[in-house]
């Protein structure tokens, strides 16, 4: 039992945090969001060169073998830096699906790890909430080839992606996972802005040619990948809430009201303490979940959900308090506070509200 980073983990953390400190933050994130891809290709190349994209994958798959601990470390820094880089969707979500599929998708996974290919996940459908298991999008065999029909919404970095992993209902066979090249749908992508300066797209699949990825076990593969996605996204939330808390504490020490620093008011002292506890609680359970998943503990699946839910509880509490304690200035786009809050909220909506995941947690614990 050891919550301290080892040398490799520490090096990874140091390097990605340094990169974020140097090149990220609010101004950069906003500027990058306006670029063609919605993020900086240069930054992405650096991530690839530094090996950060390889961190969570097994060595036999060309990775560095850090598993969920690796993606957790990278994502915390990205959250702190408000980065719009497609790490969560391309590397963690897509990559972790591909890693379960073996040789058939070797090239794709290689592309993801090398950064040459950026993939995304086409999962959400308008009006369906978190009803992942039963997509309205369908996949059918036509002349021995799969075609996908349907509409997917809020596909992160859709405009920049080289391909999509698409969930679809297979005629008479339930949930399936499919790969669709970007070229198949290029004309049917409508790009939108997410609330947090990331870009996404709504995609219409009109008889889009597809390759089937799973062998009837798509839901299981999807759910396994989600284990790591939730921890990584929780860690992104953690990076954001830690920074929001740090900036609020700093502000409370400087800003005066009624002749004394905010931080001298007992009510705010108690509330800042509670914020700090919320951050520490989230950090602790996220670290534990990452280790549990990496080490294959039996409760990794429930811990992943628990870590995610705690990151939302903590993130919401810390974010709302950060704005409130800042007062008017916290409502403006001139500070990073609002951007942190938006990142955490966007992640919550993308990857599922507490109620949804607590229901799943219930069935895992029953």
């Amino acid at each position: 039992m050891n919550f301290e980073y080892d040398e490799t983990e520490q090096m990874l953390a140091d390097s990605v945090h340094r990169f974020m400190d140097d090149t990220a933050g609010m101004e950069k994130a906003r500027a990058d969001a306006a670029l063609d891809k919605g993020y900086s290709a240069d930054s992405w190349n650096t991530c690839a060169e530094m090996g950060w994209l390889a961190a969570p994958f097994a060595e036999e798959n060309g990775g560095f073998g850090l598993g969920a601990v690796g993606s957790m470390i990278v994502e915390e820094a990205l959250g702190k830096g408000l980065s719009p880089l497609p790490y969560l969707t391309s590397v963690v979500f897509s990559g972790k699906i591909l890693e379960q599929l073996g040789e058939a998708v070797e090239d794709l996974l290689e592309g993801v790890i090398s950064g040459e290919k950026v993939l995304s996940i086409a999962l959400h459908e308008t009006g369906k909430g978190y009803g992942y298991e039963t997509p309205s999008t369908t996949a059918t065999l036509q002349n021995g080839e799969w075609v996908v029909n349907g509409a997917k919404s809020n596909v992160v970095s859709a405009g920049a992606a080289d391909g999509f992993i698409v969930s679809a209902t297979v005629d008479g066979d339930g949930f399936g996972l499919f790969y669709v090249e970007a070229g198949e749908v290029a004309a049917n992508i409508r790009e939108i802005n997410l609330v947090d300066n990331r870009r996404a797209g709504h995609i219409s699949f009109v008889a889009a040619k597809a390759a089937r990825l799973d062998e009837g076990n798509g839901l299981e593969i999807f759910d396994n990948a989600l284990d790591e996605v939730l921890i990584a996204a929780a860690s992104e939330n953690l990076g954001a809430m830690q920074a929001a808390f740090d900036q609020t504490l700093e502000y409370a020490k400087i800003r005066k009201q009624f002749g004394k620093e905010l931080g001298k008011f007992q009510v705010l002292q108690h509330r800042l303490v509670d914020m700090s506890i919320k951050v520490e609680e989230a950090r602790s359970i996220i670290m534990a979940a990452a280790m549990a998943l990496k080490e294959g503990h039996e409760d990794a699946k429930s811990l992943s959900r628990a870590a995610w839910v705690q990151s939302l509880w903590s993130g919401r509490h810390v974010g709302e308090e950060a704005i409130q304690i800042h007062g008017g200035i916290g409502m403006t786009d001139e500070l990073e506070i609002g951007d942190f809050v938006k990142r955490i909220n966007a992640n919550e909506l993308l990857f599922g509200i507490p109620m949804h995941h607590i229901e799943r947690y219930n069935t895992l614990m029953a």
């Binding site: 919404s153 996404a200 009201q257 008017g328 916290g330 403006t332 609002g338 909506l349 993308l350």
Partner: protein, 387 residues
Amino acid sequence: MDLAFSPEDLQFYEHVRDTLAANLPADIEEKERLGQRLSKEDMLRWQDVLAANNWLAAGWPAEYGGPGFNATRRYLFEQAYGSLYAPPPVQFGITMVGPVIYNYANQEQKDRFLPAIRENKVWWCQGYSEPGAGSDLASLKTKAVRDGDHYVVNGQKTWTTWAHWADWMFCLVKTDTTCKPQAGISFLLIDMKTPGITIRPIKTIDGDHEVNEVFLENVRVPVENLIGEEGAGWGYGKALLEHERFIMSGSARSRRNLKELRKQVAANSPFAQEISRLEIQLRALEFLELRLLSTMNAGGNPGPRASALKIRGTEIAQAISRLRLEMLGPDAVGVSQGFMEADGSLPAGPAEAAMAMPTYLNLRKLTIWGGSNEIQRMVMAKATLGL
């Protein structure tokens, strides 16, 4: 004790609701329902409807040209109004500077300014807050120095809502820096076209531009624009803030929004539980509001207990906006509108959902402005609990 309103009062409620509903432009109603932003023209168009019924300055006594509602009618007016998707009127003229003018200004000033407010002719903005003086007005820095028939004003105001659309600003300025901080403050009216005024927009986290910084550099304001006595502005300003507190619960809008949410779920949905939890809290708030109103009708003064309405009303409004987000789920994560299906149709989800997150973010302001909820608690601790 009785709960029912008199038939006349209920008739009044229905009259207001039906009149407003019948005259509410469909495009404005739709924008309000979707939480979309209104243009200056939208707001003026709607306020013209209100003014045509003499309901713009709904809180004004008949003596100053208002409808002269008693407390019950005032309440019912707000309830009827709030039940519709009608934009709330801009407050700065009608509930902020208006009452200061009719309470403290001279006759000439009253004649000059009051009709224009009532009739939706002049857009007012507020010059209270300054950088470093948010809830704490005693540390104001903007100075007005007498120079013949004018005051020369220098300083900076902030959080000035719609300064960029405003015709006039009411302003707290220091006219005397030698005395106690509160004592040297005066209440000035400033024409926004006066040379020396610069407006810098402040973009807020919901992506909107409502508030501004206003820089005042050697702005010459005629002495006749001083309200009441020089140095007495602090008192007028405070009275104004207290005047506001009673109607700040926003319960009618919360009810309208919650009703909309309940339509969307089955009774056994876990969301229904959350809706009911909020609705019970909201009902308690509504009846607390009615109880204070009843106290006023009986000649009593609800006093600082009314702060409770502000505290709970804003907390509940925020919680509703949060619940709405959760119910929409991933559909609310994007901020661009109008995604088309392959066949060109507009799907039901996103357009409804597009403004849910900006609304949630925007409403964070509720617990900050109008006297932050922390300030309200301090007021209650002192004045209600005697601590």
